[in-house]
Amino acid sequence: MSTAAPLDVAVVKRDFPVLGRSVHGRPLVYLDSAATSQKPASVLDAMDAYYRETNANVHRGVYEMAADATERFEAGRTAVARLVGAPREGTIFTKNATEAINLVAWAWGARNLSSGDEIVVTQMEHHSNIVPWQLVAEMTGARVRFAPVTPDGELDMDGLRALIGSATRMVAVVHVSNVLGTINPVPEVARMAREVGALCLADGSQSVPHMPVDFDELDVDFLAFTGHKMLGPTGIGVLVGRPAILDEMEPFLGGGEMISDVREDGSTWNDLPWKFEAGTPPIAEAVGLGAAVEYLEGFGMDAVRAHEREMARTLLDGLAEVPGLVVHGPTDPDRRGAAVSFSLPDVHPHDLAQHLDQDGVAVRAGHHCAKPLMRVLKVPATSRASAYLYNDARDVEVLVAALGRARSYFAT
């Protein structure tokens, strides 16, 4: 399968204008792609060209510019659907992954859940795959249950199995953890959900950007992800859903675009996917996301994944050189992505991130929107270095050297 050519990172770096900048006089080493990715010039140019050449509102315009705008917008959808092997009509644009999950929580959950029903999530979820369910549970009387995480940062499959039962209506699980890097066995989780008649949602925010993801292979009912983490712009996310289920659902947001007819005494809905896209959609953002998908496809997701497996290994090896440093999450690069969280005794993550910034290195410090997981790990916060296709071993070297300096500063 992985016959793809390896990435030439030196060439890749040149496609990303921001990577040429310096920070505090040092060349930028960007290791925070799990928070948001940088954008290749092709993505920025596609959006700029859209605005400069043919900006118009989509779908309703007869004139040529509007037709052209609609075509570019819908081509973005086609590209995204193709990337994850999803049907176009099941590929819905939202503003981010968070809205995508809320869409399911509200449009499906608020109308289908009731007292006694259970929603199963995991302890390694991002807040965006916890809070929507808590809000809906509170409104409907349903209950949110948390599947445990093993001490080495994997999903505890036995613990999960024990939670899933006849009361379960939804199992919502992160595909790749943004803190631990863990790759979860989503198809197995989906099977467990299906066996009890529950639906399954995968949060693909950290998987779709970084590895081949196929909606059918995942075998879930819903897949959420976000544009800005996959080389695309802010302001756009994606919900992929099984059309048969989406068809049965009432709409979420109401307004323009999503209607078939509006009368004073009630309204009827547009076809999929537009039924779930109320108001003017993120047009330029869809154009940009389409360009991001094309950029990724130029390498192939197999090659991206192969590179990131190597980056995970390089990061783990490099971090192992720092005395006392503890990595949270799997240590086998085959079982994880290239987002690596760690703790350094005596150095608070915020102090560390600021020290590294002085050396031009951008890493994230904090709870990474995963407070329940922080409690499981028994840390108030972690530091996280996360790589993407534009990072190389040299970046890791700079990181490790800077870590050493920070350590000796605080350890003295």
Binding site: H59, R60, V62, A66, T70, I259, S260, D261
Partner: protein, 149 residues
């Protein structure tokens, strides 16, 4: 429609102003309504099907010159055809509209005048509306046959 061949424009305008086969049938075998939610064009289509053949086609509704003239042309093109012939012709017209087949004037009749609409993506739906309604009507009729017998 500005930008279309002059001769074709005349045919389209003629069908638009003097629509053929409008109104309702006394004894429709099947009737369907379709509309284009984005522009509001509407069609009501009735067929009389006798022994697998579309003996009568009648349409009414409102919309632009393209959707109205297309309905008129469709009614002429399909009348007298068998169900299968009609479905084939609808599919041919659909492919022509999407630029995936060359138009066959012998089969399309006056509807050949709509060939140029393929260049205007937003108008394709207008042109297709009545033809898709015809397909829908025939399939509805068939499924009715099936469930009925």
């Amino acid at each position: 429609m500005g930008g279309l061949d002059d001769l074709y424009q005349e045919i389209i305008l003629d069908h638009y102003r003097n629509q053929r086969n409008t109104g309702r049938l006394d004894d429709a075998t099947v009737a369907v309504d379709q509309n284009n939610p984005l522009c509001g064009d509407e069609i009501h289509l009735e067929l009389h099907i006798d022994d697998g053949r579309l003996t009568e086609v009648a349409h009414s509704g409102e919309g632009c010159s393209i959707s109205q003239s297309s309905a008129s042309m469709m009614s002429e093109a399909l009348a007298g055809k068998t169900e299968d012939e009609a479905l084939d012709l609808v599919e041919h017209f659909r492919l022509v509209m999407h630029g995936e087949q060359d138009a066959d004037e012998d089969r399309l009749g006056d509807a050949i005048a709509l060939e140029g609409v393929a260049k205007y993506p937003v108008r394709i739906k207008c042109a297709l509306l009545s033809w898709m309604a015809a397909k829908d009507a025939i399939l509805t009729h068939r499924s009715g046959d099936q469930t009925g017998g």
